[in-house]
């Protein structure tokens, strides 16, 4: 019953200070993060052992297939896991010097939108169809505790649209999502994510439903915004080519775990995990007409039915007996790649 009052107190506690970026330490750090839920008295893990650190202003691409946990991992950076009925169950999550591993909603408020800007998956449907673009940008601006007058906020909304290079911004401000093309909607979503000038932008499959020419324009826009704002970037995609276009480092996820992490160029030329290797070889661009594509045999294991040992072994061309027992292997350094494969040296 004391709920409403408690909420008020929380609002008052939201600090007005800016997010501090310390150039000497990682801006975002994830260490053996576990995300999941309790089902019938047992833990059901969706992410188990995601590990990486992102320096301020740096970029990281996360690749993996459906069910690899990449989207849940991103949601953990915005403190929205609860909305999906899951929670952090272990490991560590730090953003901008705050330990947010088991943070309550109250602790997330000064972080969300301000420390991390987030453009969710299928964001083409992310705009409210009954509200104008301006109303939604104003909402995003008011998430921050900065005091803005109405006219300042409007000017700011207009500035955001210019930033994402929306043509005829003045009229777009008063339009609703159905009047906008897919590319325009994605630009508006990015503008909203930038509203509170976050030092890090997280994009989950930002171009998946877009045409190739529009995809290219959006990727170029993101690249320009990063140069202009010095912003860090985490980009989730199932498409290695998209990730390589924007990110200097790439992390591969498989069945909830980080299996490889290295420089983009090096991932493409000399992957040190059989899964990354298989993904690269199954690309259409690798294929000669008249010859079979290199498919990965079998299917990704569903959440809750990960095999013992390395979770990739049933589909792996390099699987040895030692791969089939124990836990998911710890990551280690091989040729400047972080890899979770015990046979990494043999991958060709």
């Amino acid at each position: 019953m004391a709920e409403p009052q408690a909420a008020q107190t929380v609002d008052a506690e939201v600090p007005d200070d800016e997010i501090v970026v310390d150039p000497t330490v990682p801006y975002l750090e994830v260490d053996h993060l576990k995300i999941g839920l309790m089902r019938e008295g047992a833990e059901l893990r969706i992410v188990d052992s995601a590990t990486f650190a992102l320096q301020p202003g740096a970029s990281l691409g996360i690749v993996g297939e459906s069910g690899s946990g990449k989207t849940m991992l991103c949601r953990s950076f915005t403190g929205t896991l609860g909305r999906y009925g899951v929670d952090v169950m272990g490991g560590r999550l730090e953003i901008a010097g705050h330990d947010l591993t088991h943070a309550e909603e109250k602790a997330w408020r000064p972080i969300r939108g301000r420390a991390v800007g987030y453009v969710p998956q299928s964001s083409l449907a992310g705009l409210n169809p009954v509200l104008t673009v301006e109303t939604q940008l104003l909402e995003a601006l008011h998430l921050g505790s900065r005091k803005l007058t109405k006219s300042d906020a409007r000017a700011e909304a207009r500035r955001l649209l210019d930033m994402v290079k929306i043509p005829r911004a003045d009229s777009v401000l008063h339009e609703r999502s159905h009047q906008l093309s897919g590319g325009m909607r994605q630009r508006v979503m990015i503008a909203a994510a930038l509203a509170l000038s976050p030092p890090l932008l997280v994009l989950d499959e930002p171009t998946t439903a877009l045409d190739v020419t529009v995809q290219y324009e959006i990727l170029v826009l993101i690249r320009q915004l990063r140069e202009q704002l010095g912003m860090g970037l985490i980009l989730v995609s199932h498409d290695l080519a998209v990730v390589e276009f924007l990110c200097s480092r790439v992390m591969t996820m498989y069945a909830g775990a980080t299996v490889e992490l290295a420089a983009s160029e090096s991932i493409r030329t000399r992957p040190r995990h059989p899964y990354t290797n298989a993904l690269l070889h199954s690309r259409l661009g690798m294929a000669e007409r008249g010859k079979d594509l290199v498919a990965i045999p079998g299917e990704s294991p569903a959440v809750g039915s990960w095999p013992l040992g390395c979770r990739f072994w049933p589909r792996c061309a390099y699987a040895a007996d030692a791969c089939k027992v124990g836990d998911q292997p710890e990551t280690r350094m091989v040729d400047r790649h972080l890899t979770a494969c015990i046979r990494a040296e043999d991958v060709t």
Binding site: E65, S66, G182, D211, V212, T213, V214, Q215, Y216, L219, H238, D239, L240, A241, V242, E244, F245, A278, L279, S282, R283, L284, G285, A287, R289, D292, L293, V294, A295, I296, E299, S300
Partner: protein, 255 residues
């Protein structure tokens, strides 16, 4: 069998809307010979999916004619898609989650199609359906389990088995892998290539993906706003694009 399994001439398709009519296809000619692979590329709204639907008889042309194996199936004085030729062209859809009935067992989905075309006794139809499913890599256990336990790739295999039930001469595949993961895509494309070779099928691939068209097709049409802006041998069109739009598509593609 006629020389050209598919002959589309002067195809126009308009969609009626409350406001102005949408001119989805504005003049398209296409021939597909036996065993050939043809690609139609373009972006959203180019009209490429409408062409696919017109070929299989899901939309009626506003103008123009469509011949399947010599029979006029659409256009003036057409006999329509009668039973005698409908089986010859089958379609695979983009979304294997939407194109299969979630309440139906995969086996029944294929069995229904087999029965529709062969009118064989039940036991024989069942065996044929299981053989078809086996040929696309679906086991009897998977075929008799619920659809919900199957992945996108497995569902697309079932759609392919169903499309093969009437032993068609032409497959029209509309973005058959765009809703699949990359590793599933490779397996499905390998399967389609194998089926095409084994059965001597002609295939029309509708796709936005130049990589897929480059890998799978011999000839290609590039569509934009309902028009064909360029066509020819795939290698030539993709290496020496003549039209500005084709050039833009190629330069926008990553990797």
């Amino acid at each position: 069998m006629a020389d050209n399994l598919i002959e589309v001439a002067g195809l126009h398709v308009n969609y009626k809307t409350k406001g102005d009519d949408v001119l989805a296809v504005r003049g398209l000619d296409l021939t597909v010979g036996a065993g050939q692979s043809t690609g139609i590329v373009g972006e959203s709204g180019s009209g490429k999916s409408t062409v696919a639907k017109a070929i299989v008889g899901l939309v009626a042309p506003t103008q123009g004619s469509i011949r399947i194996d010599g029979d006029l199936v659409a256009g003036q004085q057409a006999t329509g898609y009668v039973r005698a030729n409908r089986w010859k062209v089958q379609m695979i859809f983009q979304d294997p989650y939407g194109s299969l009935d979630p309440r139906q067992q995969p086996l029944d989905a294929v069995l229904e199609a087999v029965h529709q075309w062969s009118r064989k006794p039940k036991a024989e139809s069942r065996k044929e359906a299981l053989d078809l499913l086996k040929s696309v890599g679906i086991t009897e256990r998977q075929a008799t389990s619920g659809l919900r336990s199957l992945s996108g790739g497995q569902r697309q295999r079932i759609s392919i088995a169903r499309a093969l039930a009437p032993h068609p001469q032409v497959l029209v595949a509309d973005e058959p892998t765009s809703s699949l993961d990359q590793s599933a895509q490779a397996a499905i494309l390998n399967l389609l290539r194998r089926i095409q070779a084994e059965r001597g099928l002609s295939v029309v691939f509708i796709s936005h993906d130049l990589g897929l068209v480059r890998y799978l097709t011999e000839t290609v049409l590039v569509m934009k706003d309902g028009f064909v802006v360029e066509e020819g041998l795939t290698d030539k069109v993709l290496h020496q694009p003549g039209h500005e739009y084709t050039q833009r598509l190629i330069s926008s593609a990553l990797a």
